[in-house]
Symmetry: C2
Subunit: 342 residues, 2 copies
């Protein structure tokens, strides 16, 4: 493996390749970016000598010339949230398909950091994907300022977004539980600032209302942190109610609920049923495995990139928001309620 540097010690450029091939730099450039514009034999000669010389196109130079960086920014509120990695992967894969790489920014749960990071991304990326941003709509709009962008799991007026609607799946799971004989349900709600938490709470309330005639009643608990510890607290709160089944804000919280119930010797699903949301890896790993609503990660990522791509190509296009649906996944944390004590 020879060091692929020009004899002079400098990296090779289209110029050195051009010289070596006895063609002009433009032809070399074309050989890489518009292969169809250069005669086959010439192109092949260029490509092979370029490879031999270890030539690598300089992305920055290309970017200054074209005005496109071929990079997308992805900002997440918290990369350690198990919801994110699959999303990151999906976004990245889709971005690769359109020839872009993605620079990841973790806001470490700070809304302030979010807007600051967005600012930093200006002039560095062609567009932005904001996953469940926590910053206020106003702050967001201001930080984004003209940069093409799409939100994931949050809608803000005037901004395109792709969101996951779990109401159908949640209702399905609710029906199933009601069918099992559950009547009193608990809603363990997530952070009040969370758009997703609002949506999920709304969905569950709506379902419960529809089922009122069937004797279903809903007790709302929280808000709790969307964390394991938040879940522990939610689990404790749950036991103070008559609810036999609980909807946790997400799988992580549900996981905390499971732990708290276990710690208090309350059996799941025998004595309480609990359902999570998102279907993160974790959901399969805990005992009992979680009944939950699977988010269409890959589709979320794909759609976000498609929307963004479209938006980069047609600036000033109207903001649309596409809605995908979650899918109910039944596992071991739900079952018929225990028979009333004798």
């Amino acid at each position: 493996m020879a060091a692929h540097t020009h004899p002079s010690g400098r990296r090779s450029t289209i110029y050195s390749v051009a010289q070596a091939c006895g063609v002009s730099s433009s032809t070399v450039s074309r050989a890489f970016t518009r292969p169809d514009l250069v005669r086959d034999d010439v192109r092949e000669r260029i490509l092979s000598t370029a490879a031999a010389m270890g030539y690598r196109p300089n992305r920055s130079a290309r970017a200054t010339a074209t005005g496109r960086t071929a990079m997308l920014g992805l900002v997440v509120p918290d990369i350690t949230n198990p919801f994110m990695p699959p999303l990151v992967r999906a976004v990245q894969r889709a971005a690769a398909d359109i020839g872009c790489s993605v620079t990841l920014m973790d806001a470490e749960e700070s809304a302030g950091a979010e807007t600051q990071l967005i600012g930093q991304l200006h002039g560095q990326v062609d567009g932005l994907i904001l996953a469940s941003p926590r910053a206020s709509s106003r702050a967001l709009a201001e930080a984004i300022d003209e940069l093409p962008c799409v939100l994931v799991n949050r809608v803000v007026k005037e901004l395109p977004s792709v969101v996951c609607d779990n109401s159908g799946a949640l209702a399905h799971l609710g029906d199933r539980l009601a069918g099992h004989g559950h009547r009193t349900f608990a809603l363990l709600s997530g952070p009040s600032a969370s758009w997703a938490a609002k949506q999920r709470a709304r969905a569950i309330r709506a379902w419960a209302n529809r089922k009122e005639d069937a004797g279903v009643s809903l007790v709302e608990l929280g808000p709790f942190d969307a964390s394991y510890d938040g879940g522990r607290r939610a689990g404790a709160a749950l036991l103070d109610t008559a609810a036999t089944a609980a909807f946790a804000f997400d799988d992580v919280m549900a996981c905390g609920v499971l732990a708290e119930l276990d710690a208090r010797d309350v059996q799941v699903p025998m004595q309480r049923s609990v359902v999570g949301c998102d279907d993160v890896l974790l959901a399969r790993m805990v005992t009992p495995s979680l009944t939950t609503v699977a988010a269409p990660m890959a589709a979320l990522g794909d759609t976000a990139i498609t929307l963004l791509h479209h938006r980069i190509a047609n600036p000033g296009i109207a903001a649309e928001t596409v809605t995908l649906s979650g899918t109910p996944v039944v596992r071991d944390s739900t079952a018929p309620p225990a028979p009333p004590a004798p």
Copy 2:
């Protein structure tokens, strides 16, 4: 928020700012990159009118001019592995401290993709961090070709790296278990191609050898996948042995072991003790919570970036490998063995 574009519709540049301020473009440039070189009042005037005009430095242009992109590449074998997010975060934070952003590449568990991604990063980043790469040393070296880089949790001759040594912590945990009365231990080893798996196996073997006189014996099982399912299989295998305590390759595997034992009504820690490795978030969330070895994530990230930074500044410097240590964390998955059946 007005659209921050030049009246002409184009983005503002150092030139438009310079014109608006009645100074030369270099002064504007300096005001941003070497503030100390420009008189206070001038600098302030420049900065404020720049802000008013919505000027944002163009990173690509800067990069072509300086030859530095201020971007680092981070390639991970599998972003969904819970070990990675904290590492990613740490790396990112440290990178930010030296003024760099990081573009994340997920190889989706394919060694081939790894080298391909590395190739893609050439001419796009100033340096590379490779987290537990799976590609062969040869393939790696070839793909890296001259690009400054540092490996995390893997050592390859001629390449700088930062690794985590868990042997001390593992031995500590082993001693503790032996002190509890355990005598037969199982080593549930990880993928044979994994550098980390080799190291951990070696550490545990060495410890067991040292303890032979104390009656400690070790049975080696595996290799198993470093996954939940791998852990389930490992758990099943464990029950075919006389071992009362097991070292799993990592927390994810340990988690599978826990599930399998639970499924077979084997109580942890009463009937079997199990220890994981890494201390991922998961370790705290499962029931019982895992005794494990905490990896110094933040330090790993910091050190990797420091090494890389140093290496970018001084090309051709000798490759050093720095070793950090894991810390034992005792939780609920370990305890004295059950008394021999009467």
